[in-house]
Symmetry: C2
Subunit: 213 residues, 2 copies
């Protein structure tokens, strides 16, 4: 059976986005620094329709994450930074345009119902209004033998940890202090984790954990 | 000139103590787990007047920290968990009895003045009521060519980071989620860090950073 995992970049002080996110600066002040390590990789560029980029162990790490992903569950904040009714949302189409980088079925957690959106490149957005258990059931079916990725936002990941639904957590620790913003790990409840691997590279330290039930 | 450093154990979710600390359980619920890795080391046992314990690379790591320390600055919370006037404090003597494990001059940040306390084994407690800059000046003189350690609490460390006084931060990440408690890194302001080293062992991952000014 497929696993449920999150794979996300954080600052040393634990933030996945800096303070004061806006539509123009969705990762908040300083938040772009969290993803500098990944933007340079060949696999990231390919998923975003670009060519070139670095190969090597960090690229392989990211390629493994892409290969294992059969379906994605994300929060509304990650989808487009919004909340409230879709018809009032200036970013209702999401951040990624016609060909989003997921290339898989995506289930978006929201309080506001909406018809499924089919994009190019294999990405579909299904809007789930009846909670994370329902989203997970649908994502598992869509993923088949592959794994279900919960890439964010922080609140969605926290819900999956708190309800003991998350199997694996992989964090990429960037050596900066953002001083504030959106915290990844807060109100998760207690858990013991089993370290699966630690890989240290100049821009980032990768830590992967299995969450014990 | 000596360096100013902090060396502290945290949970993966960033807490140096669990929720609801008390005089009987000063590290809060679950907080004792943060120090299991260190309690087994020969150097820790020796500093606490005990014999035996493990040697090896983690013991060497801790021995290096002890060897470089010429003086210590700590918050009142770390000294005894209290606040308010000393005469009303049931733990006014501190946590450590007649022979505390510091074996160096300790400067305690407090709003309430009090005479210097001389303990056995080279530990003295000087109570500083005029802020961290004053404590640092006194600690630097006391340390001579050695370094000044800021072991905690979280609030004291945050003040030293925020005012750009901390040179080095070494954290020992324990693979547990405490779900709440006292956070190490919050409201520190922004900073870029330079990774000095990362050492991974089964109970803990050690990450050492130089804080760029």
């Amino acid at each position: 059976m497929g696993k449920i995992f999150s794979d996300i970049s954080i600052s040393l002080d634990g933030f996945v986005a800096g303070p004061n996110p806006t539509l123009k600066e969705p990762l908040g002040q300083g938040g772009e620094q969290l993803h500098e390590w990944i933007l340079r990789l060949e696999t990231w560029k390919k998923a975003h329709g670009k060519s070139g980029g670095e190969t090597g162990p960090e690229n392989n790490l990211f390629q493994t994450t892409i290969d294992r992903t059969g379906a994605v569950i994300m929060g509304r904040k990650m989808f487009n930074g919004g909340s409230g009714p879709w018809e009032d949302d200036p970013n209702a189409d999401g951040w990624w345009g016609d060909n989003p980088p997921f290339h898989a079925p995506v289930f978006v957690l929201t309080s506001h119902s909406r018809k499924k959106v089919v994009k190019e490149g294999g990405t579909t957005f299904t809007f789930v209004t009846d909670g994370i258990q329902s989203a997970l059931s649908q994502a598992k079916v869509a993923a088949g033998n592959k794994d279900v990725s919960i890439p964010g936002g922080a609140n969605a990941i926290q819900q999956f940890i708190k309800t003991s639904l998350l199997d694996e957590l992989e964090i990429h620790v960037v050596p900066i202090l953002l001083g504030g913003g959106t915290r990844l790990l807060d109100n998760t409840g207690t858990a013991k984790l089993e370290k699966v691997k630690v890989l240290d590279y100049p821009l980032v330290t990768h830590l992967k954990f299995h969450i014990k039930r």
